[in-house]
Symmetry: C2
Subunit: 531 residues, 2 copies
């Protein structure tokens, strides 16, 4: 306990690390983390965080140094969300579904000094030159002999003085795939993380009795800030190495799960699982990536699961808007309800500004539910910028608002609803796939003349990439060959779900490929393009 403090008596720099400190103090014996048979109380959680934090400080890391993590939803990654910032460093949580090259790119671009890697994902790191990076393997045993546990054992269990000087310091960099194919490093601040943590907890009506199941990846926008949000309300985190619907149904009851988040790609197999049954307590789920259709919605009702549609991007710390339920929707049919719930809605409580839909001159489009424009947002839960990429940052902040590149209509009631995406990104199971990146890969195939990759509807994944390929004269290739070619070069989930060979791709008079036409073709008869 510090005896004297510097600075204003009436100001503390906002940081989500404070949530853990408070819980360790007030609810030391409360279960903070469940992981299979392992359980950590809030006191143990803090002690492990302290050990990691002090060990990182001892490792000679300087303030703002990047520490990368490549791990599934395990306690260690949750610990990192508190320990790395507590040490004054910046967390770089990496997508476990990336290819080796992409992992290498992120390590290099972020300038990470350390990498913690789960044993199952070590294969992604092995081909890389990691000289200059200290690598610690996580065996996830929770016992000595596990390199991560041994690393912790060398740290001190004591709380060290905070080194945070300004709440706008960077707490994490989340890499996201954009239009260019090269991941961009989205910088989060302590202030934004603190505020969105409270916001997302409030969005799902969470309190200290809440038990959160980690289905949504923690590497994704720091788990939409629920890593910090569940901790803010002193709830319980239930970890999950691998998303299995059967296991989820078990945990709903054995651990008394009250909340989880997931894209429809996770929700559909869950509600259709043979063990699906009406729960005796209500479970609230946040749906993101794409909205729930009527069939899914009806199943949720029968299972006692209440869906809440949240929308956001990596650049907005995850959730930025909520499709808050309106009383007048109660009487609608299930199809109509699904239509309403498909809206992205409007700002949740800590978003600070109403999101707008604007034309190319940054003027609001009419709120007629028809005119399309781009969703723009601003405020405390918008990223600080892209790490070491001033050009992209400036571009995305043009006109004083963050440009989502999501094309939407603005409804008369103020809610926004996405109709199309401006950028060539395919959202598959909540993950961004850059169509440009897939195109660039396929173009490398010797038989390919030109290629366009667009999204195609998929019941489970929402969207999947599909490639339209024109072959060089005299060359031949099969669908399987192209798909395998991609799987060898980029993350498997980015490989196209299908390949259609065409003589020529549709083009504008100036020779630009009209991907819009191909998308139209794929999505014909589907009411929503993307969600």
């Amino acid at each position: 306990m510090e005896q004297e403090q510097q600075g204003k008596v009436y100001r503390s720099e906002l940081t989500p690390v404070s949530f853990l400190r408070r819980n360790a103090y007030m609810f030391p014996d409360k279960v903070a983390i469940v992981h299979g048979d392992r359980r950590y109380t809030y006191q143990q959680f803090e002690e492990r965080v302290n050990r990691l934090s002090s060990r990182l400080r001892d490792a000679g890391l300087r303030k703002h140094d990047r520490v990368a993590f490549l791990a599934p939803n395990i306690p260690q990654l949750l610990e990192a969300h508190f320990a790395v910032p507590d040490a004054g460093c910046v967390l770089v949580p990496m997508n476990t579904r990336l290819g080796s090259d992409e992992v290498g790119y992120i390590l290099e671009h972020s300038g990470a000094k350390m990498l913690f890697v789960d044993a199952e994902l070590e294969k992604l790191v092995e081909p890389l030159d990691t000289s200059g990076i200290e690598v610690v393997r996580i065996d996830d045993t929770g016992e000595s002999g596990d390199p991560y546990e041994d690393y912790l054992a060398e740290g001190s269990p004591e709380t060290l003085p905070s080194v945070l000087e300004d709440e706008e310091e960077t707490i994490a960099i989340n890499y996201t795939s954009g239009t260019t194919g090269k991941p961009k490093g989205v910088m989060y601040s302590h202030r934004g993380a603190y505020l969105n943590a409270l916001g997302v907890a409030l969005a799902l009506n969470m309190n200290s009795d809440s038990v959160f199941l980690w289905v949504l990846p923690m590497f994704h926008c720091c788990g939409w800030c629920y890593t910090w949000g569940v901790t803010a309300i002193a709830g319980t985190h239930v970890c999950l190495r691998k998303v299995e619907p059967g296991r989820m149904w078990e945990l709903f009851e054995s651990e008394g799960i009250t909340h989880y988040c997931g894209a429809p790609t996770v929700q559909i197999p869950l509600v259709n699982h043979e063990n699906a049954h009406e729960l005796d307590h209500q479970v609230i789920t946040a749906i993101g990536g794409s909205p729930a259709g009527p069939a899914l919605l009806e199943k949720f009702q029968n299972l006692n699961i209440q869906p809440i549609h949240l929308y956001g991007l990596t650049e907005t710390y995850g959730p930025d808007t909520i499709c808050a339920w309106r009383e007048e929707w109660d009487e609608l049919s299930i199809e109509e309800k699904a239509q309403k719930l498909a809206r992205q809605g409007q700002s949740h409580v800590t978003t600070s500004n109403i999101v707008r839909v604007v034309d190319e001159n940054m003027n609001d489009v009419p709120r007629d539910g028809e005119t399309m424009g781009e969703i723009v947002t601003r405020g405390n839960t918008v990223m600080k910028g892209y790490f070491e990429d001033e050009e992209e940052t400036e571009k995305s902040f043009e006109g004083g608002w963050f440009h989502t590149e999501d094309i939407a209509v603005w409804h008369p009631d103020g809610y926004v609803e996405i109709r199309d995406r401006d950028k060539d990104v395919i959202i598959s199971g909540g993950e961004n796939i850059s169509s440009v990146e897939v195109e660039q890969t396929i173009e490398k195939h010797q038989a390919v003349m030109e290629v366009a990759v667009v999204s195609t509807p998929d019941e489970q994944w929402g969207e999947r990439p599909k490639a339209y390929v024109a072959l060089k004269e005299g060359e031949e290739a099969t669908e399987e060959e192209i798909i395998d070619f991609c799987k060898e070069r980029i993350a498997r989930f980015k490989a196209p779900a299908g390949v259609e060979f065409v003589d020529e791709l549709p083009k504008t008079s100036t020779g630009k490929i009209q991907k819009y036409e191909l998308r139209e073709q794929e999505w014909e008869g589907q009411e929503r393009r993307v969600g």
Copy 2:
């Protein structure tokens, strides 16, 4: 809607006004305020706030000018909590139980340019020289002809651009009676108000279905920030001009009340009222001022009311700590539960720091539940300082922490519990009474030689002032005479509940009156001194 914004895209200055803006946008038709037969939706609430804000701007008020309100828990005072800061001004909510002189002192000290006064309280203002202050009467009819409504009618219903430049600007000044007898002006910032609003909403598990009954005065720490907190979660405010237990029981059901706050002085007549009955929905109540005894606690249980003990001071925006329930208390007897619940507990989620109990050298006292020390706190929800009183501000911030002057023990589990008060303040029904002020009044009586005022236990009010009086030789006075003498000069609730005539007051060797001894005498056999 502003087309371009100044400043960082990723920063919005925190202000609780944003909560109202969001609700008016997202839940325009939701009932925001209930006041008897009157109902205002969030859209109407915002429109009224806009009218008041624009009218204040038109009145020529400059930024940071003070606007005083003297009113019970009516919609107009709630509106003031948003409109006055939106206009760039500082709200001064005044205690309706003050005497005329005190009202005059606050108006003068705050330099208020405007005063809004409820018709029933006009008598407090009539004797005062209000030259230089524009006074607007509130008839609380909600209809034209009511000076307040006519004032609003002159304003614009449109939202004007925010004039807030820095979230640390002052939003309100709450006057509190301290040791000196002269009220001190406690300054709140937009940032602190925003954060404590979220904190107090989370402390009571509130969400958008919450319906809050305004029992706690809004003039008291801006209603412990629930003026902003209930709005933050888009709940419904139910106003109440006068606290009447029978009316409360009616409203619990007719309006579906889910939350209210009150000192035991309000709670005891409520649970003992002839209409008290087990509610079919749970009501959560925050208890402050002093804790609930076992008898009250047992009644709560039978009535389906869940009490939560919050503690704080005007200087901490109201609630600073919460006695959060611990699982291990479930099995205790009702007496033991009451004992646990009597603790002030520890910081609620947005308090930012653990509160400490320190000795005179600012060292932590042992956490033994026995050693007494002073509660100190710091962080975002500590006042900016006392308005135009640097000396008192510095004194209260000594050593980098805010000194509550509440004497407490620190329990091994980290919770704090008040044992005595260092300052000569008597908390009667949640209101501060300065014993020094009462002493100074009684001293003016021609028959009085010396006087000491201490607290005496009172089942309903928690504490009441009691005067020990030594008369001048040859002079005579009765108890009634002294009490009436006070009632004519200071707020009636500050007059002593009893007067005991003594030959001599107990003194130290240096001649200082030993008030501690007198308190001992009053509180003998009572387990808790104060709460």
